[in-house]
């Protein structure tokens, strides 16, 4: 194992070697090394978060036909730092009737729930926090802690708008957790594992977006709902409840909610890339370099690892961009529409998709890879087509009924 093949493991081995040479016990050296690793990973995530603020502001500006921040630094790149300075020096207000401890704990919990997810995010084949065999359930569990943070913020603020926003957000998150969990089972079935590392490795030949495009669609919809972003942003409907659960937060405490929302969106982009776009997989790139048929371009391990990390970050940014695209193009939906859409449409559809995938997934070992991909893709298209036909028939029936009512009313007016 050298630096050029496996940089992270090499560095951690080197560091714990130094620490044991200083006379520390081996266990303590290991704990310290892992701790340093955690700090570095969190710092990477938070630095990325600062950059995401800039990306978000630039992209929303483009969607709204503006230029966006362009005054400070090249392309306004230093703008987020100005924002941070502003947030930090703002007066920090805790409302009078607030429950102080819970009120101050909530933003910390919100950020924690997101950063916890980075523990299992495989950035590259050699750069990841931990390879859990229950990683996808861990994703759901971290979401539960995020819900807890929202409840704490909404309740501790002692503000009726905050409480209303919290109720809406929790109803939203709990409802859309169900299609999300069901869809998480689809890569599990296809890869025969819940570990994100194995799922990524199983996508070496075919990305799961080709096996389950409908799964990706449902995953993105429920991810946007989990994030509480538009069109599911009833929790902060400005015209109704001002700012929702974080209405009473000012300064950097609000900043934590904002930053964790952005990082959460990016992290879900990352999970979409891991589950459906092959994570760090790059076409033709194997562990020792690019393989184009017989032509082999050999690369040192560290370059491969960095290329994989770059590919992963680009795919995650793409997912993040799609989430922003939806956010800034769609109007907000009503709460009854939001719940009906989940319980009457998304949940049954995801259960049907799961059953079909579970049945056809048995063919994976029987059929050739390309035939299996074709079967899965066509089955997904069939489900989409049948769904659209059912929806169309339903809409036709609704329209007929309305026409009959208006006709009857018109006749009644005549007589």
């Amino acid at each position: 194992m050298t630096f050029w093949n496996d940089p992270i493991n090499f560095l951690s081995g080197w560091l714990s070697g130094i620490l044991t040479a200083w006379g520390l016990p081996a266990t303590l050296a290991m704990v310290l090394t892992i701790f340093i690793g955690i700090v570095l990973l969190v710092m990477f995530a938070m630095t990325l978060d600062i950059f995401l603020v800039w990306v978000e502001r630039k992209v929303v500006a483009r969607f709204q036909d503006r230029i966006g921040p362009n005054r400070i630094g090249p392309f306004g790149l230093v703008q987020p730092f100005a924002d941070i300075i502003k947030l930090v020096i703002k007066e920090d207000i805790t409302p009078d009737g607030a429950d102080k401890v819970v009120f101050n704990l909530a933003p910390v919990m919100a950020a924690m729930a997101v950063i916890l997810l980075w523990a299992i995010l495989p950035i590259s084949s050699k750069i990841y926090g931990v390879d859990l065999n229950v990683a996808l359930l861990y994703l759901v569990a971290a979401g539960a802690l995020g819900t807890m943070a929202i409840i704490m913020a909404g309740w501790a603020s002692n503000n009726k708008y905050a409480l209303l926003g919290m109720y809406r957000m929790v109803a939203n998150v709990i409802a859309y957790e169900i299609p999300m969990v069901v869809i998480l089972l689809i890569p599990t079935i296809l890869a025969d594992s819940m570990s994100v590392k194995s799922i990524t490795e199983a996508q070496a030949s075919t990305w799961y977006v080709f096996l389950s495009p409908l799964g990706l669609l449902i995953f993105m919809i429920s991810a946007i709902a989990e994030l509480g972003r538009s069109p599911f942003d009833l929790n902060e409907a400005e015209s109704e409840i001002v700012a929702g659960f974080h209405i009473e937060y000012s300064g950097m405490k609000f900043g934590w909610f904002y930053a964790s929302e952005l990082l959460h969106a990016f992290t879900f982009g990352g999970f979409a890339s891991v589950l459906f776009f092959g994570g760090w997989q790059v076409p033709f790139l194997l562990a020792d370099g690019f393989h184009f048929g017989s032509l082999v371009v050999t690369l040192p391990g560290i370059v491969v690892v960095l290329v994989q990390a770059l590919a992963f970050l680009l795919k995650a940014l793409f997912g993040y961009w799609v989430i922003m695209w939806v956010k800034y193009s769609m109007p907000r939906i009503r709460i009854d529409q939001m719940l009906a859409f989940n319980w009457k449409f998304l949940t049954p559809l995801s259960l049907v998709l799961l059953s079909v995938t579970a049945l056809l997934g048995q063919l994976q070992t029987v059929l050739l890879p390309w035939a299996f991909t074709l079967v899965m893709f066509v089955s997904n298209l069939l489900i989409i087509w049948i769904t659209i036909e059912i929806l169309r028939a339903y809409a036709r029936r609704q329209r007929k009924q309305e026409e009959r009512i208006t006709a009857a009313a018109a006749q009644g007016a005549h007589q």
Partner: protein, 170 residues
């Protein structure tokens, strides 16, 4: 002292303190939040025992569903979130004696368990506990029947809840 033991002692302290706070705190929402802390401590204990699946499910089910349900029930039903009645009844000493007896019995049972002093063996590499658990739940020789029975029970509860919640137009 091995690292596991330090983590265990910290966790046990967290669980005990939180559990005591759950029953002594006056504010009901605070009690529910302390309950969350206690349940989280139990999840950490599972993780220390290499029971990844149980640890994660503990958080998903108990914090993600049950604690949130508690919080909502408290927030939606009570106007005054602080209990003003005294927390103890006159017969508290009977409960204390019973609790001590149960504790003594449990400690007695555990101490007499063979292999109580043994250190836990590390799970050998290549053994996937998750696969083993999944197979055990669906093999007929093992836990297939209890698993299916509990699924039917939960389904019945679900149908019953829907039946009760649906408002019938008379």
């Amino acid at each position: 002292m091995p690292a596991e033991q330090i983590v265990f002692l910290l966790c046990a302290a967290l669980i005990l303190v939180s559990a005591v706070m759950v029953v002594t705190v006056r504010n009901l929402v605070h009690a529910a939040l302390w309950l969350v802390a206690a349940l989280f401590g139990v999840a950490v204990l599972y993780a220390v025992l290499s029971a990844n699946f149980l640890a994660v499910v503990q958080i998903v089910v108990y914090i993600g569903a049950i604690a949130i349900l508690f919080l909502f029930a408290v927030m939606l039903t009570r106007r005054d979130l602080v209990v003003r009645t005294p927390g103890m009844r006159g017969s508290w000493w009977i409960a204390a004696v019973l609790a001590l007896l149960v504790l003594g019995g449990l400690v007695f049972l555990i101490v007499n368990q063979p292999g109580v002093n043994r250190t836990a063996l590390a799970i050998p590499a290549g053994v996937d506990t998750l696969h083993a658990l999944g197979n055990a739940l669906v093999s007929s020789g093992q836990y297939l029947l209890p698993f299916e029975v509990s699924s039917i029970l939960l389904l019945a509860a679900l149908v019953g809840a829907v039946y009760l919640a649906v408002s019938r137009k008379s």
